[in-house]
Symmetry: C2
Subunit: 113 residues, 2 copies
C-alpha cells in the first residue's frame, strides 16, 4: 500500500480561466492506480472553477467550506458532507461563496490514452 497525509502531496495552481483554485493529485496513475484518480481541490474565498464539460464522470465529496455547484438544472448550495455525482457531458462549475476555503475531493476515471 501507499500511505501519506494529503499535505505531503504537492499543491498545484489550476490555471485560468479557473480563479483561486489549487489541486493536489492524491492518487494517480503514477501511484499505481489502474482505473481512477483522487484529487483534492481547494478554492479560496471567491474562487471558482471554469464552466466546463468533460466526457467523463466526476465523483465529488465536499470536505470543508461552503459554495455552490452549477449543473444543467441550475446552481445549488454545497456544504461539508455533501456528495455530488456529475455525469459525463454535463456542464458544471464550483464556486466558493463563503469566507473560508472550499475543499472537496473529486475523483475521475483515467483518461484513455
Amino acid at each position: 500500500m501507499k500511505h501519506y497525509h494529503y499535505t505531503e502531496v504537492t499543491e498545484e495552481d489550476v490555471p485560468a480561466p479557473a480563479e483561486g483554485v489549487k489541486v493536489r493529485w492524491l492518487i494517480k496513475e503514477e501511484t499505481g492506480a489502474p482505473n481512477f484518480a483522487m484529487r483534492q481541490f481547494t478554492l479560496t474565498s471567491g474562487g471558482y472553477t471554469p464552466r466546463h464539460t468533460y466526457p467523463w464522470e466526476h465523483e465529488v465529496f465536499i470536505r470543508a467550506g461552503s459554495g455552490t455547484v452549477l449543473g444543467k438544472d441550475g446552481e445549488e448550495p454545497v456544504k461539508p458532507g455533501d456528495v455530488v455525482y456529475m455525469p459525463p457531458d454535463e456542464e458544471h462549475q464550483f464556486r466558493n461563496t463563503g469566507d473560508d476555503d472550499l475543499v472537496f475531493l473529486c475523483l475521475i476515471p483515467h483518461q484513455k490514452k
Copy 2:
C-alpha cells in the same frame, strides 16, 4: 447531476467477520456511475474490518477518528487527511483504535459482471 448529503444515504451494517462497521454507498452503479463506487465506512471504537484481499484496488481518504491500516508491510496509524492507496491483491484491514468513530471514504471500481 445528483447531489445530496451523505446522511441522506442509508447506512447498512457490514456483517461479521467485520465488527462494528457500517457502510453508506454514496455513489454506485444505480446512481449512474459507469466506472467506480464511492462508499463511506464508519467503524465504532474497537471496530475493525476483516483481514481480506480483493482483486481490485481501494482508494481511501480518512475523514475522522484514529486507527490503523494493515498492509503487507505491517500496521500503520491513520489520522484525518490521510490517503491510502491499497493495490489489488494486497491483504488489508482497518481498525479503530480511538474513542471516536473512524470514518473514511473508500472508492473501488465496479465489479465486472
